[in-house]
């Protein structure tokens, strides 16, 4: 004689059964783990240290740059401008797409997409969206000029040497 099999779960309507609660918890746990995994990987692939060039460097004594000089240090991606006793460092990384702009008669010109800048780095033509930034220049205790590419300053701010 067979006894009818009792259903494992009684129909309880909206009440939170043990099975429902466990499903919710495990779903939450799995989904949460997935999100944590994705974020951990993003954190992992974003480097904490870079191995490229430092952004703060010394470029030599002020005497190395005679008045009127516009010396482009391509490796540092910066142009040292000396005018009388005033010194400034203007970025030579094109604000358009990162090519190195070259010093031209009218200022700067980018070989990649034809952006033009004037002597102070203001855009005079081409697709560049903004002017070339100026970087902070200071005199180090040993008398050398130090450029800090992490600090942008307003155009026209010279260092007097």
């Amino acid at each position: 004689m067979k006894t009818p099999v009792k259903p494992a779960i009684e129909e309880t309507g909206d009440a939170v059964t043990r099975r429902k609660a466990l499903s919710w918890l495990s779903g939450f746990g799995l989904f949460g783990s997935l999100i944590i995994t994705v974020f951990s990987n993003l954190i992992f692939i974003k480097p904490r240290a870079t191995y490229g060039q430092p952004n703060r460097f010394s470029i030599g004594k002020p005497e190395d740059f005679p008045s009127g000089a516009r010396v482009s240090l391509d490796a540092r991606r910066v142009c040292i401008v000396r005018d009388g006793d005033k010194v400034a460092a203007i970025s030579t990384t094109c604000t358009h797409l990162g090519c190195i702009v070259s010093v031209s008669e009218t200022g700067f010109a980018c070989p990649c997409h034809g952006s033009h800048y004037d002597q102070d780095g203001n855009v005079t033509g081409g697709p560049a969206p903004r002017a070339l930034p100026w970087f902070q220049v200071s005199l180090a205790p040993n008398g050398e000029i130090e450029v800090d590419k992490d600090t942008e300053i307003e155009a026209g701010n010279y260092l007097r040497v």
């Binding site: 993003l42 692939i45 974003k46 480097p47 870079t50 191995y51 490229g52 391509d74 490796a75 991606r77 358009h96 797409l97 990162g98 090519c99 190195i100 010109a109 980018c110 070989p111 990649c112 997409h113 034809g114 081409g126 697709p127 969206p129």
Partner: protein, 443 residues
């Protein structure tokens, strides 16, 4: 006794080759339809294909074989790419020398590099043309919408594969193309700078970028592309084979006739006339469920209705073999005639003037010369979104399975405009731009 054993041993030794052969290939070369069917589904590689295939799928003038050519080019790229990996080092001090070694010392080195380079260019072009074929024949219509989406993703992964590979020779061409290309990513709103930093592993293109691009190029992207391609192929079968025109006589003339057994999905019922749909309704109610019933789209076995399918062995397999041989022959020929370009080693001080991206990105670079954000990020994003949404925007079901169907005049016109505008931009960027990206005349 010993005599008997010896002769038995002899016999099994003599039969050895045949026994081994038969244990691998369970079917002898087929001479009957049953044999052709079982050849298809007892072989690992052949069973990926249907046993029977519609005649329309074999028409060279319908598909132009573009999907197959894309896959075979990818196959050539994987083989030549693995071989090149044996001699390549992703280091800024060694990469360029290794390129010279491929020219000078490695046996067939220059030839392998040519094959890899030209197949990569070819794959970008052929995948794009394949997309054009699918659009112009209306093949993204239900039930194939999602396979179109996967196809668009495959195009994007193909472009990214090509972009990451472009940096690896570490010559002037590579360095400046990637400098320009990764700056474009930096223009994306909110996350742009972060994406660029994570992609390059630094603020400028250098050793970290080379290593990252190498890992993406040889490990991450090939796996993603293979997985997407597998889903793409699998869905072709699950969506009822390649698209083809609706056949009026494939629907029962007298649906109440009990001899007709028809198994078909709702897509075709919608596609045909309402009368035919109504006629098919009673049949659908008492349809017979087979394992095929899980697959959408019309099937080949439709009672007394004309059967336009043929066995995959040998028809489909022979066609695939021919396309494969043509593809390989083409790549070999081009690789013998033309050498892959290699410019001067990277010189961070001197960008070439003009600095140009690979040809398929020159349309993008031309756009970028007008506006970095709109040309490099805004318009491409809109274009990709529109491409992804094509099958969900264009819901009309008429004109499927024919090139340039009259019913699809508007859709085809818009798509061809998109294609032609992009090709014109590429041509302008390639031939009409000189130093400082100024307009020059090529003649």
């Amino acid at each position: 006794m010993s005599n008997q054993t010896t002769s038995r041993s002899w016999k099994s030794l003599l039969d050895l080759p045949e026994n081994v052969w038969r244990s691998i290939f369970r079917n002898p070369l087929p001479s009957s339809d049953l044999g052709r069917a079982s050849t298809s589904f007892t072989n690992f590689f052949l069973h990926l294909h249907p046993v029977k295939v519609h005649r329309n799928s074999l028409r060279a003038t319908y598909t132009l074989g573009l999907g197959l050519i894309s896959f075979f080019l990818f196959f050539i790229l994987v083989v030549t790419g693995i071989l090149l990996m044996f001699y390549y080092v992703p280091s800024t001090t060694q990469a360029y020398d290794r390129m010279l070694d491929l020219r000078g010392t490695v046996a067939f080195g220059i030839f392998l590099r040519n094959m890899h380079r030209w197949s990569a260019h070819g794959m970008v072009a052929v995948v794009f043309l394949h997309m054009c074929r699918v659009f112009l024949t209306g093949s993204y219509k239900p039930p194939r919408e999602f396979n179109w989406v996967i196809g668009v993703l495959l195009l994007l992964v193909t472009l990214f594969m090509s972009f990451t590979g472009y940096l690896l020779p570490w010559d002037q061409l590579a360095f400046w193309a990637i400098t320009v290309g990764s700056s474009i990513a930096g223009y994306a709103p909110l996350v742009g700078k972060q994406v660029k930093f994570i992609l390059l592993g630094d603020t400028t293109v250098g050793q970290e970028a080379l290593l990252r691009f190498y890992v993406l190029h040889v490990a991450v992207l090939p796996v993603v592309l293979s997985l997407l391609a597998a889903i793409h192929f699998w869905r072709i079968r699950k969506d009822g084979g390649l698209s083809r025109p609706v056949e009026e006589d494939a629907l029962p003339a007298d649906a109440s006739s009990p001899s007709v057994e028809i198994v078909q999905g709702p897509a075709v019922v919608m596609a045909s006339s309402p009368a035919a749909a109504a006629a098919a309704a009673p049949v659908l109610q008492k349809r017979h469920y087979g394992i095929q019933g899980l697959v959408r789209g019309p099937f080949t076995k439709i009672g007394n209705v004309p059967d336009r399918s043929v066995f995959a062995w040998p028809n489909l397999f022979m066609a695939e073999l021919v396309v494969f041989l043509i593809t390989v022959a083409g790549v070999l020929l081009v690789s013998l005639l033309f050498n892959a370009p290699l410019e001067q080693p990277v010189n961070i001080m001197h960008p070439p003037n003009p600095a140009k991206a690979p040809w398929y990105f020159l349309g993008l670079q031309e756009q970028v010369s007008y506006s970095a954000f709109w040309g490099g990020v805004g318009i491409p994003t809109i274009e990709v979104l529109l491409l992804l949404l094509v099958p969900y925007i264009d819901r009309k079901v008429a004109g499927v399975g024919r090139w340039f169907a009259r019913e699809r005049l508007l859709a085809n016109f818009l798509f061809l405009t998109f294609v032609i505008v992009n090709i014109v931009l590429i041509i302008v960027g390639t031939f009409f731009r000189g130093p400082n990206w100024e307009f020059v005349s090529p003649w």
